[in-house]
């Protein structure tokens, strides 16, 4: 239906729109990170498009691909009733250069969402008014949704009791094993007993 949005984007930005596709009425445009803000401004201000509501913003890590971190923005127009999904890619293997222009000046509602993407995925937003962690605590090191963050690394704020203090074993009790939990997070770290 709203092939219109993609057509307008291609017409206006040409080579900055790297890739588009439409599945089941969902239009997606992969855009150049350098034009992120200009495209956002255009989508918001153009009367025929009028995207007045940012639905969601998130980061997706593809560790085997360069640039590595994909930032996905979902937009909706309440007046025109159409949607578009914008994607862009930033950052090399070490997440150097993972920077993007902040869109808070266009959609104030993106303030906390950009903080979340910064907190979880480590993308820095240029021009954000208050780029702090929002979910994790300030002492937290690293960005947990990057695939390079170790699956079993925790950063406790209070030191755990030792078994001496507790006077009892603090391992998980039978029938729970030490590696109880989601098995895919631990693959290759703790070989299962039957493997050895």
């Amino acid at each position: 239906m709203s092939q219109l949005v993609l057509d307008k984007l291609r017409e206006k930005f040409g080579a900055a729109i790297l890739e588009t596709h439409s599945n089941f009425g969902d239009d997606t445009a992969l855009v150049d990170a350098a034009h992120w803000k200009a495209i956002g401004r255009f989508l918001h201000d153009e009367p025929a498009l009028d995207f007045d509501m940012p639905v969601d913003l998130c980061g997706v890590d593809y560790p085997n691909r360069l640039p590595r971190m994909e930032v996905v923005l979902h937009l909706y127009s309440v007046t025109r009733r159409h949607r578009v999904r914008l994607k862009t890619r930033v950052g090399d293997e070490d997440m150097a250069g993972a920077e993007l222009d902040s869109l808070v000046s266009i959609w104030p509602g993106l303030n906390w969402l950009e903080r979340e993407v910064f907190d979880m995925s480590g993308v820095r937003f240029r021009g954000h008014p208050d780029l702090r962690r929002i979910l994790m605590y300030p002492e937290f090191e690293g960005h947990p949704l990057q695939k390079t963050y170790p699956a079993d690394r925790t950063q406790p704020l209070v030191s755990y009791r030792t078994e001496d203090e507790a006077g009892m074993p603090l391992n998980k009790l039978e029938p729970f094993g030490h590696d109880e939990g989601m098995p895919f997070g631990r693959q290759g770290r703790h070989p299962r007993a039957e493997d050895s």
Partner: protein
């Protein structure tokens, strides 16, 4: 007050009868404490719904003298940790526990509070016993109110016996059968081995009708 010290030697005083009973101070204190538990609900997650079910008339935790919530740790002696504790909440939980008066007890309500549950990740404390001591673990996601009442009875049993080792409400596979250092709930005066045939007889009797 039959179970103050020995169930076989209980005596009921009626009407204008007068008399006295002898007991040990510890037993008397334990008996008094176990029926006047003032709860501090530290409710962080979905298990809270089950806590509400427990506290409402259908399951009626008031029967066990543990219905009064106190939203100040200084006025409570039973800490209900109901739900997932994130690393960020760890210091808060520890501080609440430290503010409580002695003697104090702690419930780990639900699988997340007991072991972190399926949140095996960067954000969740893998069981509150890593931070504060726990008296009774109540597994379940969430636990049925019956399981929680089981846990409450286990705690009362522990208090009466002045016992501080942790206990676990029985799941289908009972960990206490494999680990020696856990307190077992005394469910009935009857030996389970004696009870089973009688239950079976009762069931068969019903079937014949």
């Amino acid at each position: 007050m039959g179970d103050m010290s020995n169930a076989n030697r209980s005596l009921t005083l009626e009407g204008s009868e007068q008399g006295f009973a002898t007991t040990k101070v510890d037993a008397l204190l334990g008996w008094a404490r176990k029926y006047s538990l003032f709860a501090y609900p530290f409710v962080t997650a979905c298990c809270g719904m089950e806590y509400m079910a427990l506290a409402s008339p259908r399951f009626d935790v008031a029967r066990f003298g543990a219905e009064a919530p106190r939203f100040s740790p200084r006025q409570s002696d039973l800490l209900w940790v109901v739900g997932t504790i994130s690393q960020r909440q760890g210091p808060v939980l520890k501080r609440i526990y430290e503010q409580m008066m002695e003697p104090k007890w702690v419930f780990a309500f639900g699988t997340c509070a007991s072991s972190g549950g399926f949140y095996d990740n960067y954000t969740t404390v893998p069981g509150i016993d890593k931070i504060i001591p726990v008296d009774v673990y109540i597994p379940g996601c969430p636990p049925r109110p019956e399981a929680v009442i089981d846990g409450l009875l286990l705690l009362q049993d522990k208090i009466a016996r002045n016992e501080r080792r942790p206990g676990v409400v029985k799941p289908r596979i009972d960990p206490t059968d494999r680990v020696k250092d856990l307190v077992k709930l005394r469910r009935s005066a009857l030996d389970p081995a004696e009870l089973a045939p009688r239950l079976r007889q009762d069931l068969e009797g019903q079937g014949q009708k």
